[in-house]
């Protein structure tokens, strides 16, 4: 009973928030609606008993991702209205076809998957966080380490890309400009 009430409430809130995100013409409204939608999605994870995933959702998305977006929006001119694409008939047809196929697939999926058995079943007497840790550090240890390396690479790329002098491109400059830049750098080094 309460599960149903919570599900419908949060489903409505999430859909409304994401609808605002894709339809508003103000980037700031889109950002705050997206943050609210992320928090409402973590409610589904708590209903489903995936406590650790819900906590990670709140920390990573509304903590890290939204802070990064807010930081990025300081660089861009976000106060003006966002221009939209003109409506395209093929896009509308393609979208509705794709959505219809997905609905059919959802209702057809239980027919072919009714005999699935759990590969890594939930442990008896262990909390969600504990069993997640056990599975993550035994069966998924290598993907976990690869994901760690990927995050490190992304961090280095973010630092390098947002750093100084990245607005200059040696391939788009001509020879005199490159020479001038080199001389300036040499002056700085010598002085």
């Amino acid at each position: 009973m309460f599960e149903a009430i919570a599900f419908y409430l949060f489903a409505f809130l999430t859909i409304a928030m994401f609808f605002i995100t894709v339809t508003t013409s103000q980037a700031l409204y889109a950002l705050s609606a997206l943050a609210a939608g992320m928090i409402f999605i973590s409610a589904f994870f708590f209903i489903l008993g995936a406590d650790f995933l819900g906590a990670v959702q709140i920390i990573v998305y509304t903590g890290a991702v939204m802070a990064l977006y807010a930081f990025g929006m300081m660089f861009f001119d976000t106060t003006r209205e966002v221009k939209e694409k003109k409506g395209n008939k093929f896009i509308i047809i393609g979208l509705s076809t794709l959505a219809a196929v997905m609905v059919v697939a959802i209702f057809a999926a239980p027919l072919v998957s009714h005999n699935i058995t759990a590969l890594y079943p939930m442990l008896e007497g262990a909390g969600n966080t504990q069993s997640v840790g056990i599975v993550l550090f035994t069966k998924y240890l290598v993907p976990f380490e690869v994901a760690a390396i990927m995050l490190l690479v992304a961090m280095v790329a973010g630092i390098v890309l947002a750093g100084k002098k990245m607005d200059l491109s040696l391939t788009l400059m001509n020879a005199e400009e490159i020479k001038l830049m080199d001389e300036e750098i040499n002056k700085k080094v010598l002085s």
Binding site: T21, V65, I106, M150
Partner: protein
């Protein structure tokens, strides 16, 4: 109606995915396109968690964790590239990115 099953979550995930697709189709600003991709990734995460719950298997939650990690790193690199593009051209609209047309 009152019993929430797997199909409820899958239908919700589909609705959110369709909203994200609409966002991708109609947006021209690259920052708002990133918002739409976040919606897509989150809707998939919901169905992963729901399948993990209803089949008693933890693999779905593991995939959701990796999806979150991928989303975070994609965002870091993408925002860095957007900042570089904005410094060079002063705009992040998709129309400005046509220098490869030849």
């Amino acid at each position: 109606m009152m019993e929430i099953g797997l199909n409820h979550y899958l239908v919700l995930s589909t609705i959110l995915f369709a909203i994200g697709l609409v966002g991708i189709m109609r947006r021209k600003n690259l920052l708002l396109l990133f918002f739409a991709t976040e919606i897509l990734l989150n809707s998939v995460n919901i169905s992963f968690a729901a399948i993990s719950h209803y089949y008693g298997d933890l693999t779905g939650q593991m995939f959701a964790f990796f999806v979150i990690a991928i989303a975070a790193s994609e965002l870091a690199v993408g925002l860095g590239l957007l900042i570089v593009w904005h410094k060079r051209h002063g705009t992040i609209d998709l129309d400005s990115m046509s220098s490869m047309r030849g």
